[in-house]
Amino acid sequence: MTKALKINKSTEQGILELLKFLLEKGKVKGVFTLKKISNDGAVAYSLITKPDELKDAVPLYPLMPTNAGKLLSRFTLKGSSNEPVAAVVKPCELRAFIELVKLEQGSLENLFFISSTCGGVYPLKMAADGTIEKNLSKYWDAVKKGEIPTDLRSACKGCEEFKPYTADMTVDLIGKNDIDKQCMIFLNNKKGEELTKGVKGEFLEKAIDKGKIDKFQIKRESEKKKLFDEIEAKTKGMDGLIEIFGKCIGCHGCSNVCPICYCKLCEFDSSDSEYKPSNYEIELKKRGGLRVPPGTLYYQLGRLTHVTVSCVGCGACEDVCPVDIPLSIIFKKVGESVQKMFEYVPGRDIKEEIPLITFEEEEFTEVED
């Protein structure tokens, strides 16, 4: 039975209390969490070292300004943190970070992870126009009841990986009806137990309520199926792809925000991928016409092959797309089918190797001819 920490305060307050405790006792030297910038829904990930600065921290805010996995990777890219830092992140952000560490783009050393069962996040647009604040009570009502909040990022609506795999502590949110009165934090390992020693609260032997989780899982599953079926009908074949990606303006925003697209020198941004006059001539001779600039589908399919095996389905790509291409569902759907082939869940376990950099001697003989 895993241990749990019960704090008799609202869940948000409880976490803040815990973070403050960690900073004050010197158990961690920094906290990485979402922090309010203004009152109209603007939040940003921040590193906080002074306990007082936690007053504007909103660790459970249903928004993902940037995938925290990407941010933590930048934080630890040139070397691991010298001091212990507690990071409050969403499950998919944690998984993204684990993938990045596997890709040698960050380090887990000196980092502690606090995650939660995740209800999902709202699209960035709602933070931009301030409507997110009005929706917060609705969001938490749905989470309390174990329902899927409306108007979420579409990737979140059908996300089945709402429970963190490798967090040191998991905050109980989904289906917890007394969120406003009580904070329940599951301590998943020794690190979590060590850190929380001395916190004002009650320590229990308690595991996460599986029934609650399973019920929510079923809801998410059926929502996912709906989303996948919709996209399946749209993306079939070249005509479907041309229609769906035809709107792409080539801003490469999706790859810029994608935690898995980590290459600093991207093939698609390099001058190598620019067409020479002779390329245009050849293409035009063949086709009798050409979209300018060419290579939209090449970019999207290329990204698909590069990313899918590690795609955590966070939905950041779709969220920044200025022309609303349903990227996250396409990537999630294709990603899941490729990942299934390798029995791989990105970010599930740091010890699991990324399928494309490992192999078995006897496998996939059906693709040989």
Binding site: G246, L301, G302, H306, T308, M341, E361, F364
Partner: protein, 143 residues
């Protein structure tokens, strides 16, 4: 091409330097007959073939793409072809998922001594592509 002329596909072949390219060479020096549909590109190892190469070829209108390397266990670099196989499997899966013609791609192991096998693969694959017909992507303007 005249209408009654038979369709001769264009197949891009990525051949590994150590096995398949030598195999192709042997097919040539042995004067084996195979269709003139293959356009070979020599790569140092089949694992050098980024899925992007295959996609680029497909979108560029290649009727087929062949990736060939040493037999498993015989890779000049010990394990390159194992990676190729995984990559190829995932690429095929992706193409199936989005409803593109994954059957236009082929992965084959051809060793340096297998001239006849090279000729056979080339002939077989050409026949298969002939049945599939032209790659219609060739005529797409939006890409």
């Amino acid at each position: 091409m005249k209408k009654d002329e038979e369709f001769m596909p264009k197949i891009l072949a990525f051949l590994c330097n150590w096995c398949s390219y030598a195999g192709a060479d042997l097919a040539g020096t042995s004067r084996l007959k195979y269709p003139p549909s293959i356009l070979p590109i020599r790569v140092m190892c089949s694992s050098r073939v980024d899925p992007l190469f295959v996609i680029k070829a497909y979108l560029g209108g290649a009727d087929g793409v062949l990736v060939a390397g040493c037999h498993p266990g015989d890779c000049h670099y010990q394990k390159g072809n194992y990676y190729t196989r995984r990559r190829f499997a995932s690429l095929q899966k992706i193409f199936e998922d989005i409803g593109l013609e994954s059957e236009r791609f082929r992965l084959s192991w051809i060793s340096a001594s297998e001239g006849p096998r090279y000729a056979k693969v080339a002939t077989e694959f050409t026949e298969k592509i002939k049945k599939l017909g032209k790659n219609s992507v060739k005529n797409e303007i939006f890409l």
